[in-house]
Amino acid sequence: MTAAKTAAIVGYGETNFSRDSTVSSLTLNLRAIHSALRDAGLEPQGIDGIIAPAILGATIDDLCTSLNLPDLSFSATMVTGGAGPCSAIGLAAKAVESGLCNRVLVSFGYNGYSEQRLGFRPPQIMFGESVTYRRNYEASGGLLLPAQYYALWATRYMHEYGWKDTLAFAAVAVAQREYAAKNARAMRRDPITVADHQSSRMISSPFRLLDCSQETDGAIAVIVTRPDDHDLAQGAARVTVAGWGQSKPPFPDQSITREDFLHSALAPAGRRAMAMAGVSPGNIDFAEIYDPFTFHVVWQLESLGFCPSGEGGDFVLGGETRLGGALPVNTHGGLLSEAHLWGMNHVAEAVRQLRGDAGPNQVSGAEAGLVTGSGDFGDGSVLVLRRES
């Protein structure tokens, strides 16, 4: 047998998702981590690298102490918002492939509802000039919520492509809720209709309540190992990190004065990830697409090349993102209906799909899946994951 050249995800673990965890974010992280270690058949001392996908929740020092690790040889913290999980997994793969370390833990967990409402961006996730930008040039002008930032993009997009209604947004919400209804972990499982979407309360136009993701307490951890790691439990299901790409947009600290306002960093990130994996959009069996708001799914389907620019709406209205469609999307329900775990839940769902463990939402014969992450002001990161052959 020739040694694999590509790093693999060999374990994942998660807590339940709720709005009232009653424990600290560190405890949530530790529960997910121990679950991931059991899944991989590893002891904590087998970990020699940690990447934090965000600057919320547990720090690397918190985790290193709690796991009593004697000699962490690699660590890094991602500061790219919702692009962080994909970047953390991609960087973990490169760290083990280059020999910097052997096994990397990527863990994210927080009380995104009960402690720090995610819908109002917590100030501790801002650094540098961004603090002044948010306060002096946006908040003072009434621009405060993530829903508003994304709404500004959506309004402009709808104008440029001549949209007269938001039925395509409804199609995204309904399709993802259908997946969530069959996912026992999902927080929102009650079926919804297009009419429910169109009559849900307006948040910030064009977004209604059912266009918006939720806020969640919970944690998810993933373990990435080097290709030739033979100490793992025999038969551990491996999912290879076949491709990774990322991109920062111009003026990444804000979106409104970016010359090309609808520039999407997901486009170059996706091209790089698919080139590294040697695949094209037609070879992708399913996608877990970062979905803080319904519109962001439509936009990314175009940016990633799954349909031409301006046709993302028709793609979702035609049912292509449902099971049996051209590209099942957010087969767990996504941030909209499963939970908002910063996109780590998208990675976890891709692992389940490629292991054949996705239950009623299993995409039959899934060999390659694409996962995206996106930061508020446009950072993009994309993974291509494969079932190890």
């Binding site: 040039y137 500004l152 309004t155 104008h159 136009s205 804000q254 409104i256």
Partner: protein, 140 residues
């Protein structure tokens, strides 16, 4: 004062103080590059077109057009809530460079706002001497 009664307060920095001083005079001033003539917003340490550090604040024509907008109904925990639903507009100004500024657009009904609507700068003066004047927009 309860949070819902007040607006978010800007804190002028060493860089943007002239902008806030201009707003108090009901004047719209933007950072312009003395080397290449490009205007820029947000204020930056140097020109993002030619990297020159020689920048100056210059008054500009306060008329622009709505580039994009959102009508906000959701509570945000500040005095904006008293006027909900209110329009947050991004307004583009026809100066050299890409200058778009965000602010509340008043004087137009939520169902009347549209991309391309001609607007001009308006000024919301603070309640006390310590409060900065904040940029808003009204139809031309």
């Amino acid at each position: 004062m309860a949070a819902e009664e007040r607006y978010p307060r800007p804190r002028p920095t060493g860089l943007d103080k002239p902008y806030w001083q201009a707003l108090r005079r009901e004047d719209l001033a933007l950072q312009a590059c003395l080397e290449c003539g490009t205007f820029q917003w947000f204020p930056r340490a140097a020109c993002t077109s030619c990297y020159a550090e020689r920048l100056a604040w210059q008054s500009v024509d306060p008329r622009g057009t709505v580039f994009t907008y959102t009508v906000t109904h959701q509570r945000v925990g500040f005095a904006f809530d008293k006027h909900a639903p209110y329009i947050v507009a991004v307004v583009e100004f026809p100066v050299p460079g890409t200058v778009r500024m965000a602010g509340v657009l008043r004087g137009v009904a939520a169902e009347e706002v549209r991309i391309g609507l001609p607007v001009r700068a308006a000024f919301r003066h603070g309640g006390t001497d310590d409060d900065e004047t904040v940029l808003e927009f009204v139809p031309q």
